[in-house]
Structure formats: structure tokens, C-alpha cells
């Protein structure tokens, strides 16, 4: 079992009153307490995986792969199986995850509950689009088999992206993607302003499976929004054997929190410049193992500690295409003007595949993810300012990254909210949910 249950941003620091471990996926537990919330790997940034004074159900013992058909690429695994573990099994057999977030240390149920997206959203939608079935354990004792078209299909739609609120998921079945080796052909292109990004994106997006841009938020005026455009495709030839792990991969770990002053504007500036320049030299095409392509940060364990004890915020929005370009530009302008430079800033265009979840975050438009060290009120006010911009363009804020959006912003982000509420398990709740629905604090 996990020793403690933080979220990735280390803000807020909410403790549950107790924690239990779900023992076996085919056993039932007594829900004689409340409120419950499942916990996977705690890779959500804010408070959606926290349950202050409630009971956490740790899924770490549910780490079994229940079935893997290496001919059809259908895999069924228990909810606590991590993408990291799964990759080590499926890659050598010529399969890959249909969708993956920027870290492989997430559980399958965590990926389901936030209906996570990856660099291939424009091609294949989000994780939920590839789920064929899962089992939901309700506190009433009911066990629901949910598929996209059986009698529980509304629970299917409510649970995907349902923030863990509809009950406990015991296992998930989904379709994998064929690959012929473990490499990716990656191309890197620099762009000198956000306008150039939009142009590049029009040109590249549809010709590559994966695409994402990194933005240097410290750049100003004519360089505003300069950065690097990464696109990639699974390598086609057979030059190398499959391997789940890159050989001689070294990993670094941050064992303690950095002091609060380490990450000041200067270091962020220096980092961004360094990042830009290292990659500038790598412009053009290269063959790379999938791990550094998809999970550049996973080699530094606990990199989140670099933000110190006070933790940090991530702000991820999506803005519809209509006025997406203007709003994204405006956000970057404010970040740069206020000197709020973000350490890691990622910009991507979501495609138009509809998400299956009632509460799924991905929808067509531009999505921008920024992170900010927690400097108290100043940071909070600034983030609210960004929310206003996002809402004015009918955009949405991503709950998996959120620790502070307002009740109204949440409601405006999720038009099917009222429908969703019908499927919530009465014994389940989270710190996030109580905050954004303004319920009694525990």
C-alpha cells in the first residue's frame, strides 16, 4: 500500500482519515464508511485524487493483467496496473498504448477517470475512445459490467472522465495499437512566435500521428510564444528489436524538496533557453526510443519536488478553434507580461473525435498547459484571470490538473454536469468535488 497519498502538485496537502487497499478484483469490500475515493498513482496535480478526512481506496494491489491477446491487441487489466508495467509486457509483443499521457506512471483506472489525452488526440481521441469494457463496483454492493452499448452504457459514459466519483473500477479492457518496433521517428522544428506555431501546426498536424509543442514562456514581444514543435510517428522499418526499456537508461531522483527560492524567474529563463538551444541542434528528423519521446520527464523521479514544499499549480485549458488562436496568444502575453514564466509549457491542438465521457475534458480546440510555483494569492489571482479568458471563449479547465478553479468555471467547463450527477455513487466524493460543487467541507 502507498505510505501516504499526496497529489502531484503537492497542493493542497489534504490527508484522508484512513486508507484501505482493495484486495482482489473479484472480491467485494464493505462500504460502511464514507466518503470514499479511489487512488491510483497520484499523478493528478491538484485535489481530484485527494479526499480530505475521507477514506482512500488504494488500487496498488490490483496489479494483475487479466488477459492479453497478442493477436487482437485486446488487453484486460485490473485498475491498478500502471502504463509503465503494461508497456513492459505489450511492447515486446508488438503493441503500444492507444493513448498515453506525458508520464507512464499512471494506472489504467486513473487514465479512465480523467479520460486522459496524448499527443495523438487529433488522430484517435482520448483514452476512453479505446475502452471496450470495465467493471464498476458501487457502494450499494452492485457490480456493473459497463460497455459502450450494454444496459449500463450511461454508467460507461459517466465513469469515463468521471473523476472517480461513480464508484470503484476493478478492471478495464481496451484496444492496443500495433507497432513494428519500439522506436519513433521524431522531427523537431523551431518556431519563433506563437503565430508561427499556428502556421506550422496547420501544415504538420494531419501528417503525423503525434504532435505537441513546447513553448518558451519567457520570450516577449515579437518572440512571444516561440518554441519547438515535436512531431512523431511509430517507426515503420525493422531496424531494431523491441525493447520496453531503453538500454542503459539512467534515472535521476530528487529525494527532497528544493528550497523555495531555487525556481525563480532567472532559473526558469535559463532552463528555457537551454532547452531551446539543445533542441535547436537536434532540428530535423531522428529515430528515438519511445520512452524519451513520450515520457521526457519520467527519468527524473519526483521532479515535482523542485517546486519546494509549497507545491505548484498546473493550468491546462482548452479553447475552441473559433477564437482559440487569439485567446492562447492573449494568455501567453499575460504570462510573459507578468513575468509569471512557466517552467514547462505545452501547446497542442485537439482533434474533433468526440469524447465518450460526459465529463471528458478533451474537445476540439487548442490546449495549453502551464505550470506555476505556488506563490500564494498572487498566483491564484493570476490563474483566475486566465480562467476568465478561457471562459469568455467557451473553453474549459482540466480537473486532473486543477486545485483552484471556481464553482462557476467548473460548471461552465462541463455542460453535461447535471446529467453526470445522476450517476455519482452516494458514498464517493473527493476534495475536488466538494470544492467545485461548494459542498460542506469535511
Amino acid at each position: 500500500m502507498h505510505f501516504n497519498f499526496p497529489s502531484w502538485g503537492h497542493y493542497p496537502k489534504h490527508q484522508p482519515k484512513s486508507a484501505i487497499s482493495y484486495p482482489w478484483s473479484n472480491s467485494k469490500i464493505n462500504f460502511d464508511d464514507a466518503p470514499y475515493l479511489a487512488y491510483g498513482m497520484g499523478r493528478s496535480y491538484g485535489d481530484s485524487c485527494l479526499n480530505k478526512n475521507g477514506v482512500i481506496i488504494d488500487s496498488c494491489q490490483l496489479n494483475h493483467i487479466l488477459g492479453f491477446d497478442s493477436d487482437t491487441g485486446i488487453v484486460r487489466c485490473e485498475s491498478g496496473v500502471t502504463f509503465d508495467d503494461l508497456l513492459s509486457v505489450i511492447v515486446p509483443k508488438g503493441w503500444f498504448l492507444p493513448v498515453t499521457p506525458g508520464t507512464r506512471f499512471v494506472t489504467v483506472a486513473g487514465a479512465l477517470a480523467n479520460d486522459v489525452h496524448g499527443k495523438n488526440h487529433h488522430r484517435v481521441g482520448s483514452f476512453g475512445n479505446h475502452v471496450t469494457a470495465f467493471e464498476l463496483q458501487r457502494s450499494t454492493g452492485q457490480t456493473l459490467l459497463c460497455t459502450p452499448d450494454n444496459e449500463n452504457k450511461l454508467f460507461f459514459n459517466a465513469t469515463i472522465g468521471g473523476l472517480g466519483l461513480t464508484g470503484f473500477v476493478t478492471w478495464v479492457e481496451f484496444r492496443l495499437k500495433r507497432i513494428v518496433n519500439s522506436y519513433v521517428t521524431k522531427s523537431t522544428t523551431t518556431f519563433s512566435s506563437v503565430h508561427e506555431f499556428f502556421e506550422l501546426d496547420e501544415e504538420y498536424l494531419n501528417s503525423h500521428e503525434y504532435s505537441v509543442a513546447w513553448i518558451d514562456t519567457t520570450a516577449r514581444s515579437s518572440h512571444l510564444g516561440r518554441g519547438l514543435y515535436f512531431s512523431g510517428d511509430h517507426a515503420k522499418e525493422h531496424p531494431v528489436a523491441y525493447s520496453a526499456k531503453k538500454k542503459n537508461q539512467k534515472s535521476l531522483s530528487l529525494p527532497v524538496n528544493f528550497p523555495n527560492f531555487t525556481l525563480n524567474t532567472l532559473t526558469v529563463k535559463a532552463f528555457n533557453l537551454l532547452y531551446l538551444n539543445t533542441h535547436k541542434n537536434q532540428e530535423g528528423q531522428a529515430l528515438t526510443h519511445y520512452a524519451p519521446f513520450f515520457y521526457p520527464l519520467d527519468n527524473i523521479k519526483n521532479w515535482n519536488r523542485m517546486y519546494g514544499k509549497r507545491g505548484f499549480f498546473q493550468h491546462q485549458c482548452v479553447v475552441p478553434l473559433d477564437n482559440g488562436k487569439e485567446v492562447i496568444t492573449e494568455i501567453l502575453q499575460r504570462v510573459s507580461a507578468k513575468g509569471m514564466a512557466s517552467f514547462l509549457s505545452v501547446l497542442k491542438r485537439f482533434g474533433n473525435s468526440p469524447s465518450v465521457g460526459m465529463m471528458s475534458f478533451p474537445r476540439e480546440g487548442y490546449t495549453l498547459a502551464l505550470d506555476f510555483p505556488n506563490k500564494g494569492k498572487r498566483t491564484l489571482e493570476f490563474l483566475n484571470e486566465l480562467d476568465v479568458l478561457v471562459r469568455s471563449a467557451n473553453g474549459a479547465i482540466y480537473p486532473a490538473k486543477d486545485a483552484r478553479m471556481s464553482v462557476d468555471t467548473f460548471a461552465a467547463s462541463f455542460p453535461h454536469l447535471d446529467d453526470f450527477k445522476k450517476y455519482i455513487d452516494p458514498a464517493f466524493s473527493s476534495s475536488f468535488w466538494r470544492r467545485v460543487t461548494r459542498q460542506q467541507k469535511l
Binding site: H64, G67, F68, V75, P92
Partner: protein, 246 residues
């Protein structure tokens, strides 16, 4: 050639981690446990991860009279047993055992008597092979009697001594007997305990175990730093030890 690995207590946290590291496309795992519903899950997992073959057997180790038949069944199916891994046990809270004879004896029965029975049976069969490994999970708790855990500890101490003798006996037959003494392992058995810096994951412990099996080691502490801790604990004089609360 297919390698046969027999695991007694295949649903335990440590066994599962060991099985995951030992499986291969030339390995047949023979899994023994009392709860078939759990064992089904473990078997599906190991098959999905690429194990050549997995065979399941049901046995409650407390039921000694069933032992001979199940052991015979395994021996018949496997032919040659390359590795026998024994990893099951029971830990009731000590306070309950102090007032409940049945619980105290069950602890001894599961952790010691039943293992002796199974090992006598398997040794007889494996001696004929003139090769193989018998690896058994005992515990650091058997190294010294502590007031908080001496009933469990005494069963493990008995087991450790039994294994030492068995090792000397089977040495001439080409069979290696490995005694494994884990320290604090974060597993279902200890799910209710508060964890600190001395705790290790089942995966990490499994790594040490598999390495020791492959290297024909005799006795290991997992992680190795427990050897130091236990060396110190063993030399603390009784007049101090009785004042310690652990």
C-alpha cells in the same frame, strides 16, 4: 527444455512478485494456494505476461492429510522440479495469541508444522533428481525472541533451523536449500501496519530472492542491510533487551 518452478503460497504478495520475475517462455509455473478464485487471477496475470505454462493446484496447507496427494500430483505433472519456492504464512497479532491457545498453535502449525510436512515430501521426490533448488521464506523474526512477536518468531526460528539441517542433508544430493529472511515487507500481511524507512516493496525483495536462487546462496537477508540490523539485535544483552518495546 521447460523449467518447472513450483510455488507454494502462490497468492502471497512476495510469491507473486517472485513469479513475475521468474516467468519466461521456457518456464512452467506450478502454483499452489488454498483460494482458487485468487489463484485464477494470479495465473491469468502470469500467462498474460508471457509465461509458457501455468498449472494451478488447490491446497490448504493446514490440512496435512492432503499434502501427500497434492505433492504427488505436482511431481507427476512436472517430472523434474527445478525450483521449489515456499512462501506462505500467517501472522496473527501477538496479543491475540497470548490469550488464545488455538490461535497460538495455528500460528505454529501454518508457519512451521505444515512447512515441515511439505518439505519432507518434496525432498524425497527431489532427491532422486540430483539437482534443483528449494528456497523457503522464513523471517528475521526467527533470529531472536521479541516480546511483541515471539510466537510467530519461534515458528520461523524452527523453520530456519529445519532448513539449515535440510541443506546439509541435501548437499550431497546436489540440491541447494536457500533460507530467505526478509525484514519488513510492504505486503498484504503487513497492510495494517504503519510504514517507515525500513520497509521494502515486494518487487525489491523478489529481486534479491531470484538473484540468490540463481547464485545458489544458502542464507540471505532481504534487503541485505537486515543482516547488520539482526547482528546488532542478537548481541544486545538480555537485561537491556527486556526493556525494549518491540
Amino acid at each position: 527444455m521447460i523449467k518447472n518452478i513450483v510455488i507454494l503460497g502462490a497468492t502471497s504478495g512476495i510469491s507473486q512478485a517472485v513469479a513475475k520475475q521468474m516467468l519466461a517462455d521456457d518456464v512452467c509455473l506450478h502454483l499452489v494456494a488454498r483460494d482458487m478464485a485468487k489463484l485464477d487471477i494470479v495465473a491469468s496475470d502470469l500467462k498474460s505476461r508471457g509465461c509458457a505454462d501455468v498449472v494451478c493446484y488447490q491446497l490448504d496447507f493446514n490440512e496435512l492429510e492432503q499434502h501427500a496427494a497434492v505433492v504427488q500430483d505436482i511431481v507427476n505433472k512436472a517430472g523434474v522440479i527445478d525450483t521449489l519456492f515456499v512462501c506462505y504464512g500467517l501472522m496473527h497479532p501477538q496479543s491475540e495469541c497470548e490469550t488464545d491457545v488455538a490461535k497460538a498453535l495455528e500460528q505454529v502449525h501454518s508457519n512451521y508444522t505444515s512447512v515441515v510436512s511439505l518439505l519432507v515430501l518434496f525432498s524425497q521426490a527431489m532427491q532422486k533428481q540430483n539437482a534443483g533448488t528449494i528456497a523457503v521464506v522464513s523471517s528475521v523474526a526467527g533470529d531472536r525472541g521479541r516480546k511483541s512477536n515471539y510466537i510467530y518468531g519461534s515458528a520461523k526460528a524452527g523453520l530456519t533451523t529445519f532448513l539449515e539441517g535440510l541443506r546439509y542433508q541435501l548437499y550431497a544430493k546436489g540440491i541447494n536449500v536457500l533460507t530467505i529472511k526478509p525484514g519488513f515487507v510492504d505486503s498484504p500481511m503487513t497492510a495494517h501496519l504503519k510504514k517507515g524507512a525500513l520497509w521494502t516493496s515486494t518487487d525489491a525483495v523478489a529481486g534479491y530472492i531470484v538473484k540468490a536462487i540463481n547464485k545458489n546462496k544458502s542464507v540471505i537477508y532481504t534487503p541485505p542491510f537486515w543482516f547488520l540490523i539482526m547482528t546488532i539485535i542478537k548481541i544486545i544483552p538480555a537485561f537491556i533487551f527486556r526493556k525494549l518495546n518491540f
